[in-house]
């Protein structure tokens, strides 16, 4: 696998997890498991020139150790979009790391460093496969297929009007379709396609609150979802958020475009930024519990007036 990888660790040094993450990143590079992996000199470097020179074939991975997610945030400040984000703290469910005061030299000898290096290595390997696959796929599509792939689902909703609420410099939109559009209290919408199927996405309000969405991960096609369970999880430059399903049912399609371009959710939350299609278990009953466009609009207005916008 000769993919060029740039791994950008946060280089944390305050908490044990930061120190261990840093050591793991350094160990991985030293192991030469990925011959073309290099660590970026320093994410905190003032001169940003170096970061804009990545070729499109370079796989860029941001490595965060704690949930401050410095690496992601700094890259975002520099307008660099990593292909994948890794957060070391998620490994902690299965691995115990030393607690309390440990010197760097004690941590260096701790077994958790090698275990986390291994986890990191496996995760990167997976991303390399996905990344290579995507590249091959893209080049195939370019040659053979101009457009209209048979399996892909095209979402063409019909909105009669947009309700708009202006607050400070922001404008929040809520579309209207009285028979087809439903909202829940967690800022997700569902558009009824007929035959018990709905398209699910997030509202303009939530999108603006999250700010730049960097990653959108769906539950797999075929997964059964209860009402208010997560159909997808997204990570933005500011926070982590789940998309809670307005309906219960089975996921039958996902918007794979979001894997490459999660910013579609920011740009066009009610159309191209759709997230999944669900085959509902109980459309009639559950839809009666949800809000209409006007109800959601008032709910959203109340929320904004009370809480402001998280910017």
């Amino acid at each position: 696998m000769n993919v060029k990888i740039v791994l950008i660790p946060c280089m944390g040094c305050e908490k044990n997890i930061g120190k261990i993450g840093t050591l793991a990143a350094l160990s991985l590079e030293k192991s030469k498991k990925f011959p073309f992996l290099r660590l970026n000199p320093s994410i905190t470097q003032i001169a940003a020139g170096e970061y804009t020179s990545f070729s499109p074939e370079t796989l860029i991975i941001a490595l965060n150790c704690c949930n401050v997610r410095c690496s992601t945030k700094i890259l975002n400040q520099k307008s660099i979009k990593p292909h994948y984000l890794i957060n070391i703290s998620k490994y902690l469910k299965d691995i115990n790391i030393p607690k309390g005061d440990y010197s760097i030299h004690e941590l260096l000898k701790d077994s958790s460093v090698s275990i986390i290096t291994e986890c990191l290595s496996n995760e990167i390997e997976e991303y390399v496969i996905q990344f290579t696959h995507k590249h091959e796929e893209n080049s195939v599509i370019k040659v053979n297929e101009p457009s209209n792939s048979k399996t892909s689902f095209t979402f063409t909703p019909n909105y009669s009007k947009m309700l708009e609420f202006t607050f400070s410099k922001f404008k929040f939109q809520v579309p209207i379709n009285p028979n087809r559009l439903f909202f829940n209290w967690n800022d997700a919408w569902a558009y009824y396609l007929g035959e018990g199927k709905v398209v699910i996405g997030i509202t303009d309000y939530l999108q603006k609150n999250l700010s730049d969405i960097l990653i959108c991960e769906f539950n797999e096609i075929g997964t059964n979802i209860s009402q208010f369970e997560a159909v997808a999880e997204m990570e933005s430059s500011k926070t982590v958020n789940e998309v809670l399903s307005p309906f219960s049912g089975k996921i039958i399609a996902v918007n794979t475009k979001l894997e490459e371009a999660p910013e579609l959710i920011n740009e066009d939350p009610y159309n191209n930024g759709w997230i999944v299609v669900l085959e509902c278990n109980n459309f009639e009953e559950e839809s009666s519990e949800l809000m209409s466009s006007e109800e959601y609009f008032n709910f959203m207005k109340e929320k904004i007036e009370q809480e402001g916008i998280y910017q």
Partner: protein, 107 residues
């Protein structure tokens, strides 16, 4: 008024699915066997649910918690936050709704 101060506590949302938020038992519970009081959740939660009191994590505003939101659970490094099962809470909400409806009907 663009909100950038993480320390302020926004007012709670009063109703969820047509039910008074105060009647819904949805909030995090801290597993003190696991929690190391790192305070990441205090920083993370935009609704001011958590706070630190003398260096110990507390759930200060449980009813500020957004019903069915578990984002803090995702980011807790120690996996020390517990929520009720969504199904149970949903059943509770539906029960309250049907009681409300009944009392209106009886009236």
């Amino acid at each position: 008024m663009i909100n950038s101060d993480k320390n302020r506590i926004p007012k709670q949302i009063h109703r969820f699915m047509g039910v008074d938020r105060k009647d819904i038992d949805w909030f995090p519970i801290i597993d003190f066997n696991k929690c190391n009081n790192c305070g990441d959740c205090v920083q993370f939660c935009a609704h001011g649910v958590f706070n630190m009191e003398n260096g110990v994590l507390i759930v200060q505003n449980p009813k500020n918690c957004v019903v069915f939101c578990q984002a803090c659970l995702k980011m807790c490094p120690k996996d020390a936050l517990i929520f009720q099962e969504k199904k149970k809470v949903l059943a509770q909400i539906r029960q309250i709704k049907s009681q409300q409806k009944q009392s209106i009907d009886n009236y």
